[in-house]
């Protein structure tokens, strides 16, 4: 385990004081937990000034008893230096809303729709936030830990009949 702060961490702390809540770099997995309210600016900073031009993945995690409940994870990559960075933000149950990064990474459009579909985390500023995998008329968000496992929704019929 490394306890050396890495350059991106120091740069963010300098530009956005107090925005890094926690961090680690275990086995080279450099991870930052940052302030949700300033997440768009920090990700834009990483994208524009540090060359993290690929959003490898964007996922959500539900840690149900914990507060804040949701965690949104961004896996970033710099194609020039091959550096990888993981950025997490924590989201509250009452206001599960975070800023969309679709203006920075076009791939985030569908990834954020998937997180909305499965977790019910809203992304403000998303151009078209609707379900990606499930159908219209499905109620609830099935990957939330409090969604009943064997709950069955009414089956949908053919569209044209």
């Amino acid at each position: 385990m490394s306890d050396q702060k890495f350059p991106e961490h120091l740069a963010i702390e300098k530009k956005f004081p107090g925005s890094v809540f926690d961090w680690h770099a275990q086995h080279g997995d450099r991870t930052l937990i940052i302030d949700a309210a300033r997440s768009f600016d920090i990700l834009k900073f990483l994208h524009d000034d540090h060359g993290y031009n690929v959003l490898v993945d964007l996922t959500g995690v539900d840690y149900l008893p914990r507060k804040p409940r949701f965690e949104i994870v961004y896996h970033l990559m710099n194609l020039s230096t091959k550096a990888r960075l993981r950025v997490k933000i924590q989201s509250d149950e009452l206001h599960p809303e975070v800023a969309s990064v679709t203006p920075l990474f076009p791939i985030a459009n569908w990834l954020e729709r998937e997180v909305w579909d499965m977790m019910g985390v809203k992304f403000s500023g998303h151009p078209d936030l609707k379900r990606l995998l499930l159908y219209e008329g499905f109620e609830g968000h099935p990957l939330r830990k409090d969604y009943p496992l064997q709950h069955r929704q009414p089956r949908i019929g053919p569209k044209d009949q």
């Binding site: 995998l133 499930l134 159908y135 099935p142 969604y147 496992l149 064997q150 709950h151 069955r152 929704q153 089956r155 949908i156 019929g157 053919p158 569209k159």
Partner: protein
């Protein structure tokens, strides 16, 4: 079954169909003939949605050769097919499409549920999976396995052919 094997009695003065066709024709019931014809000319519609498709392809290709049983011809229009093979997991989202495909097939038609997922939902006891396609459409043969071995598929096919032969045929 009765053969025309009676010897000629008219001295050979006229054409005698009994003698001419000796040993070459036999009688049966029309229903059984129709069943025999139907069971060896199955046109299939493979509705392949998941990993069971690999076993279906393995069964259909030369190694196991489903053609030996008169069921080789996959049609990619449900209107031209007799057997609907539902191969794999059917999600709630695709269920209306499966119903549409079944409704488009012309009678007589049969449905095979291929593998655990199509038969009963398999391991997916959750929000997204239909717990067996018999909740949507009638099923004639269920093939067990996750996925079923090609031998099991051929066994299911033979059972389907037995079922086709032994049911009263829908006459046109």
């Amino acid at each position: 079954m009765r053969k025309f094997n009676q010897p000629s009695t008219n001295g050979g003065h006229q054409f005698d169909p009994g003698a001419a066709l000796h040993g070459q024709i036999m009688t049966t019931q029309f229903d059984k003939l129709l069943g025999w014809a139907r069971k060896y000319s199955l046109f299939q519609y493979p509705f392949v949605t998941a990993c069971c498709g690999m076993e279906f392809m393995s069964t259909a290709c030369s190694h196991y050769d489903i053609d030996r049983f008169g069921a080789a011809f996959p049609r990619f229009s449900p209107r031209q097919s007799d057997v609907l093979w539902v191969v794999g997991t059917v999600s709630q989202k695709i269920a209306p499409l499966l119903k549409n495909v079944y409704d488009q097939m012309a009678a007589p038609k049969w449905v095979v549920a291929f593998g655990a997922c199509a038969s009963c939902g398999g391991p997916y006891d959750d929000y997204s999976t239909v717990q067996g396609i018999d909740l949507i459409i009638p099923v004639d043969i269920y093939i067990a396995g996750c996925p079923p071995r090609p031998e099991a598929v051929l066994d299911g096919l033979l059972k389907l052919q037995e079922l086709i032969q032994n049911t009263r045929q829908v006459t046109p």
